[in-house]
């Protein structure tokens, strides 16, 4: 087994251990919230008898650790259980939402990552030029505005004034890819505007950092053109931080888009999680939470591996 394989395996094992910890923390968190599912669903119409009947039916009258262990034994056997509130299989509930979330994240990432890296490279290449400054000002302004504000601005311009895109991002299984790309364009654009700045600034900073190194000076002295210095000499050595920041932003696109989902009424995982927390539907909260945690872990592992692969010094044991 090579060093890299060992590293991947150990990281994945650690990841699984992390997931256990995360699930326990989430369970404790839900337990700490005031009220339980029966109270949340019955709301004002709750009486002691209906609450008791509700709890008995769902097993909420069991001790917390019993419920957690029951759930855990199901999960290790691959059974995520049923939603307490609707009785639906959690896997059913998750599958369409998951596909929607991944679609929107993928849509935004496919556009945002190339643009951000290219802008970053160009900004480094033409450092302190008018282009550099305007790219920075633009990206920083976009990230400085809260997502819902960006979203409302986009709706105002593109939906209400111009009428090009719908304000509700409604998609279902019958929606064709073309339609889906059209109705989700505004949410995707909102996300793009929010994530671009971080990646662009990091690309620019990493490249500029490398550009100060002696071997770049050497390359310049021997007459290599500027663009080639940046692409061939600087970029490969600046990849590690760029990959890390891209991974972080991809994770954000998957787990952090609740606000955008609400503004565009997009049926993604974020809404599901908010609903599930509001009704204390713990199997659903756990499943979504574990998926989010898993996303972070996997993307971080991927970023580390790619960083190692991009760095010969780490790739080959000393």
């Amino acid at each position: 087994m090579t060093r890299l394989q060992k590293l991947i395996l150990s990281r994945l094992a650690l990841g699984i251990a992390t997931l256990f910890v995360v699930s326990a923390l989430m369970f404790v968190g839900i337990e700490l919230l005031p009220g339980d599912l029966a109270q949340q669903i019955l709301g004002q119409s709750a009486t002691p008898e209906t609450l008791a009947a509700f709890r008995a039916e769902l097993g909420l009258d069991q001790a917390p650790h019993t419920r957690y262990l029951d759930w855990l034994s199901g999960v290790v056997q691959g059974d995520l259980g049923q939603s307490l509130a609707s009785g639906r299989e959690v896997t059913d509930l998750l599958s369409t939402r998951l596909a929607n979330t991944m679609f929107l994240a993928g849509y935004a990432a496919v556009i945002a990552v190339p643009i951000a890296v290219t802008l970053g490279l160009l900004a480094a290449l033409w450092r302190n030029s008018l282009f550099d400054r305007s790219a920075n000002v633009g990206a920083l302004s976009a990230i400085s505005m809260p997502e819902f504000f960006v979203a409302y601005l986009l709706i105002l311009v593109f939906s209400i004034k111009l009428g090009w895109f719908p304000t509700l991002a409604r998609i279902d299984t019958a929606t064709s890819l073309g339609q889906a790309l059209h109705v989700t364009f505004l949410p995707a654009l909102t996300l793009i505007m929010v994530v671009i700045a971080h990646m662009m600034r990091m690309t620019r900073a990493a490249i500029i950092n490398v550009l100060a190194a002696p071997y770049i000076e050497m390359a310049r002295l021997k007459g290599v053109p500027r663009w080639r210095v940046v692409l061939r000499h600087a970029l490969p050595n600046a990849l590690a931080p760029i990959i890390n920041v891209i991974a972080l932003n991809l994770a954000y696109l998957i787990v952090g888009v609740v606000v955008v989902e609400v503004v565009f009424s997009y049926p993604g995982l974020g809404q599901l999680l908010v609903d599930a927390v509001a009704s204390r539907d713990f199997p659903v909260v756990q499943a979504v939470g574990l998926f989010f945690a898993g996303t972070y872990i996997l993307l971080n592992v991927a970023a580390d591996i790619l960083s190692i692969l991009s760095n010969p010094r780490l790739r080959h044991a000393r």
Partner: protein, 521 residues
């Protein structure tokens, strides 16, 4: 109008219905010009505030507008509240009571069918009602049905209810969205997840918390109802998103537009804002068993220290009316119009404080916007206004989560709301009777409770008017609930959406029966 013991077409709200009918005949209604004959066709798209991933079709669990409207469209109830506020037979063809109003016989229509073609039988009704009764039931309507001692089917078409005590308003209970009729599985139970209903629409697809698609049943048994070909309800939780979707034509109808920005919506030429007075009201219940609220003078002082007008104008943005410390809305039967209005009067409040032997008063008001949107603002306004009367209202903000379990009914003074009930009896029994589960004020007025029982079993309309009038007065002067305001239901729709001249005002959107009653121009 006299109250007959047996009624196939009830006339309880005779006077109101009569005047409304006169208004219709004279063409006085503002909607007269628009509301032509109902037409069939079109797809109604609705944007609703509420709706949750945790929703299910089990009628015991309905807890939001999304499910209420769905319930009425897909399933039906024994009776419905007619636009004039009376109980109108729906699945039941007629209903009648014994003279003591303690045994009720409901005769079912013989032409009503489920969407799978089966005729509705008395067994189906019994199984559906029993779903909400008994120890195992987790239904929100369970306390209301506790009065039923026995239900049995008498043949295929007749259901007989035996009550613990007489109740002249008993039929009104069956308008409740929980009490929709499903098929008996053969063992006296219903399948709670069944999509087979007796309503005008069938479910084509349902994704809880996202959308439901409904299509009209061609073989719907009810005449002159269910005009839209198809209906889509979308959950659009964000108020701005709902209003945008209406403006761009992606939906035809939205509920609860944001009152702070509603004037922007009004500017749009194709959009109509619709308001209904309704029975929704906001309350501040005080526990009359806890000091200092155990002194009626303290309660009266607080009732005169709140600026109701300011709350209607500033918190409800004018979409409401002032309350008079009893829960009966002016649109409800037996409303007492002769009661003097409680108004903001710091001197009077001081006077009552003096009678209680106090110079000043410190109370804590527990509140959260979970009680109603703007509850915290209303509490702060109250606190400011009360200072002039030497009353220090300390506003404590509670978490929204678990508010109904941990604050309401628990804290001696808090904010709350009632969605309203169709009759005074149902309202008083739910929230003010001595033995009510939700007696939020722990009020135990002997006279009030005597009257409640007497009026419930009384079938003479004039006597009931007198009794309910006195009960409203008792609530106002002795009760523990401070009721500063009644809210209006506000919705917005485009010009295509039409509704009858008179609609049911108990709940929002024709009491959530708009899918079956409204149409497109």
């Amino acid at each position: 109008m006299t109250q007959s013991i047996s009624f196939t077409s009830p006339t309880r709200r005779g006077f109101l219905a009569g005047t409304a009918a006169a208004g219709m005949a004279l063409g006085l209604s503002p909607y007269r010009a628009r509301a032509a004959e109902p037409q069939k066709g079109g797809t109604l798209r609705v944007g609703f505030t509420q709706g949750s991933t945790s929703d299910s079709l089990d009628p015991a669990t309905y807890s939001n507008d999304f499910m209420f409207a769905t319930s009425y469209a897909v399933f039906s109830t024994l009776i419905e509240i007619a636009p004039d506020g009376s109980a109108k037979p729906d699945l039941a063809e007629s209903f009648e009571a014994t003279p003591d109003a303690a045994t009720w016989t409901f005769r079912l229509r013989d032409d009503a069918t489920f969407s799978d073609g089966k005729t509705v039988s008395a067994q189906d009704v019994v199984a559906s009602i029993r779903h909400h009764m008994g120890d195992q039931s987790k239904s929100g309507v369970k306390p209301l049905l506790a009065q039923i001692e026995d239900i049995h089917a008498d043949g295929d078409n007749v259901v007989v209810f035996t009550l613990a005590a007489g109740n002249a308003d008993f039929p009104f209970i069956f308008n409740d969205y929980h009490l929709t009729i499903r098929q008996d599985r053969g063992d006296g139970t219903i399948d709670p997840d069944s999509r087979i209903g007796t309503g005008g629409y069938v479910i084509e697809s349902f994704e809880p918390g996202v959308r439901i698609e409904l299509a009209r049943r061609d073989d719907y048994w009810k005449q002159g109802a269910a005009h839209f070909d198809r209906v889509t309800i979308l959950k659009v939780g964000d108020a701005a998103a709902r209003m945008n979707a209406l403006m761009t034509g992606e939906v035809d109808l939205i509920d609860r537009p944001d009152l702070k920005t509603i004037h922007m919506l009004e500017r749009s030429p194709n959009i109509r804002i619709h308001t209904q007075d309704g029975t929704l009201h906001y309350t501040m219940p005080m526990h009359v068993t806890t000091a200092p609220f155990d002194d009626v003078n303290v309660r009266l002082a607080l009732k005169h220290a709140i600026d109701r007008e300011a709350i209607v104008q500033k918190v409800l943005k004018g979409y409401g009316t002032v309350g008079n410390d009893h829960p009966i809305a002016s649109s409800m039967p037996f409303y007492n119009a002769d009661l003097a209005q409680h108004a903001y009067d710091p001197d009077k409040a001081r006077h009552y404080l003096g009678k209680a032997g106090l110079d000043s008063l410190d109370v804590t008001l527990h509140t959260a916007d979970a009680a109603f949107n703007g509850a915290v603002d209303a509490s702060v306004l109250f606190s400011e206004a009360a200072k002039a009367a030497g009353i220090n209202v300390n506003v404590t903000r509670e978490p929204d989560d678990g508010y109904w379990s941990n604050v309401w009914l628990q804290k001696p003074f808090c904010t709350s709301y009632w969605g309203g009930r169709p009759t005074p009896d149902l309202m008083f029994s739910a929230g003010y009777a001595a033995d009510a589960d939700w007696n939020a004020t722990k009020w135990q007025n002997e006279r009030f409770n005597e009257l409640l029982l007497a009026a419930r079993a009384e079938l003479d309309s004039a006597r009931r008017t007198e009794m309910y009038g006195e009960m409203q007065q008792l609530c106002q002067t002795d009760g523990g609930a401070l009721i500063p305001a009644f809210g209006q239901y506000v919705s917005a729709m485009n010009e295509k959406v039409q509704m009858p001249e008179q609609i049911s005002e108990m709940w929002d959107l024709d009491s959530q029966r708009f899918i079956e009653r409204w149409w497109f121009a």
